[in-house]
Symmetry: C2
Subunit: 392 residues, 2 copies
């Protein structure tokens, strides 16, 4: 299996590949990338380079990706050109519906899933017109954007100079993109559902999880989500409908908002996703193994939980000096149930350098242990903010 | 962490090392060994070579092993010579008590653990004398021996020509060893207990498992063992006492016999062991991760089971043509709970090329699913023999 990218998501595919006896070939520009350190098969090059992608394809039976900075035209050609000798999963068509936020909104509408209103704008005057109608709005770059870097907020109809400059840059910069505008919603909670879909359309769904963002960054994943059976059923149904609609293969992560008891789609990702990191330690089959199984055409594994409750907390570095690798003994020492996953990344302020999962009898216990361990490791501690969001 | 050996046991340390952010350096003579394929740090050389061991030690903070073909003098010197800059765990002293079966028996006696009688012989006439006293006896090479290749049976006082030749070869061959003789016992069951012991003496015990051998090869591991609370408590107590007695660090696997309701020690191994492979999929922390944590001086992880029952079955190749790697889809397709671990080894008759674990509501269900999957993969199927042993 060829993997475009060699970050932590690729790294976490390695244990699954070992067990299944699959060879992984990673493509990245930096041989010191997390996953590249654990596989002898590494193609050095850009994910946007025709030569590099062709080399990866020549070495493998199937190509998949672990990030979204892709040239979809190239991937579409690859599938066609190799005449089926190297498959690409998810397909360029699927990826197009996921990576471009306007295409995503169109796909969600096409699947018949109710959602918030949305508008697309290409110019500053169009932006002004929408803000005149919707004074509280979130603006998203249709392409690009990750952990809060691709969006901006307008409140009370006031476009600040910063937001104006940001929007101009998105719409007219070197890689221009339209803006997707959505009215700001009064969120009760955020959810995520991971679907694994096989080549023949077979599906496995993980239990929906509650996700908690602070400062635009995912901080914690909590399961069970505690938002009731109606929300749960709706979330699963939406995720399955979208996976079918866009013909996903592998992981499809559907991030959702709960607003007034209704579930709305927020974002999609067609790769292993932060909201599924707990599956390594808290489910029979991890999202990473199931992604590999799906793209390699193997039967899918059980998504069942192995314990009553799990909390995953991202390990986010405070600064370049506080390296959690130097304090892993302190984290592990907090409780024998602490499961630490480090990504082999140099710490930088606000950089995700790992995650931690605790399975326990209930969410409160798992959460308390996890945050205790996060503090012991000297990582950014947002327990209060996370608990405030969860408990209202 | 430096690891002497790069077989499947080393390979299964890799996922644990990735999560903990530990570098693994493997020493082996063959760069195509299972573990060597998954780590960029590989020292090419013999486990018995001073140069190779010194090179491994120079690259690492601690050296451990995943097999027992070791030069203990070399390891003892290494610990001393490096003046503590590279530690060796388990120590050469611990390994001596484990690898040499007479030293092992002496250590078990010294720990005050009741066991079967045993004798040591060095010549054919000594062997005759013991057989005259004990007509039914098992003879073991004190050093060497794995999966049945290091032992022979005498029944009704009759030493067959094959056993005579074998014993001569052990006692007077190029690497002479004494023979350890033990009266043949009427086994009710075989058990194994895995203890993890840290550098400071802290311990974690996994639930005792029932092991089933067919033709001298471990075929299945079953947990819970179903042999009652008295046997369970005795088995744990014995394993802990031995770990303390020999100052184990890392995994200590204690293989035991149940005879007349009593528990006797059979063999020891001071490394991750086949009887603990289920811990990858059926326990909070795998034996591989806990071994690395122990030798690296990290706090130990929980050994708790994640499900009510687990069955591990070794994948043993029928012949060179029936490669389970080509049939992994058939095995996985049997049930979404099937967990397959392949070792990347070429199939040869009776060669262990992987294992499989199923966690289920009870042993019967887990066992049925596992054996069904073993057959689907075309591996050696000993379900009948295993069930006959378990059910009497």
């Amino acid at each position: 299996v060829g993997v475009i990218g060699a970050g932590q998501l690729g790294q976490m595919m390695v244990p699954a590949a070992i067990g299944l006896g699959l060879e992984l070939h990673f493509l990245s520009e930096d041989p010191s990338d997390p996953a590249a350190q654990w596989s002898p098969h590494h193609v050095l090059g850009s994910a946007l380079s025709r030569e590099a992608i062709a080399q990866l394809a020549a070495q493998t039976d199937v190509v998949t990706c672990e990030h979204e900075l892709l040239d979809l035209t190239l991937l579409a050609e690859l599938g066609d050109l190799s005449e089926g000798s190297t498959a690409v999963y998810p397909s360029a068509t699927t990826l197009a519906s996921v990576i471009d936020k306007t295409a995503m909104r169109a796909a969600v509408d096409a699947a018949g899933i109710p959602g918030p209103s949305w508008r697309v704008v290409q110019t500053s005057s169009d932006l002004d017109a929408v803000v005149a109608e919707w004074p509280d709005v979130v603006a998203k770059a249709a392409r690009g954007g990750y952990d809060g870097r691709g969006l901006a907020f307008v409140r009370n109809g006031l476009i600040t100079p910063e937001v104006r400059a940001w929007s101009e840059q998105i719409m007219t910069g070197p890689h221009p993109s339209v803006l997707l505008l959505e009215p700001l919603l009064d969120l009760e909670a955020e959810l995520a559902v991971l679907v694994i879909r096989g080549i023949a359309g077979e599906v496995v769904v993980y239990d929906p999880v509650r996700t908690v963002q602070v400062d635009g960054q995912c901080r914690a994943v909590i399961v069970p989500h505690g938002l009731g059976a109606k929300v749960d059923a709706e979330a699963r149904q939406i995720a399955l409908a979208i996976a079918e609609q866009i013909d996903a293969v592998g992981v499809l992560a559907v991030e959702m908002f709960v607003v007034g008891g209704e579930v709305y789609v927020n974002e999609l990702a067609a790769r292993p996703h932060n909201s599924g990191h707990h599956t390594i330690d808290a489910c029979v089959t991890s999202q990473f193994e199931n992604h590999l199984r799906a793209v390699a055409g193997l039967p899918l594994g059980s998504s069942a939980a192995t314990g009553p409750a799990a909390v995953m907390v991202n390990l986010i570095a405070r600064d370049a000096e506080s390296d959690p690798r130097a304090r892993r003994d302190l984290g592990l020492g907090v409780d024998p149930r602490v499961r630490i996953h480090l990504y082999g990344k140099e710490p930088r302020p606000q950089r995700k350098v790992g995650h931690m999962t605790v399975v326990a009898a209930d969410v409160e216990e798992a959460s308390a242990v996890a945050w205790h361990a996060v503090r012991a490791m000297g990582c950014d501690d947002r327990e209060l903010e996370v608990n405030r969001q969860v408990n209202g």
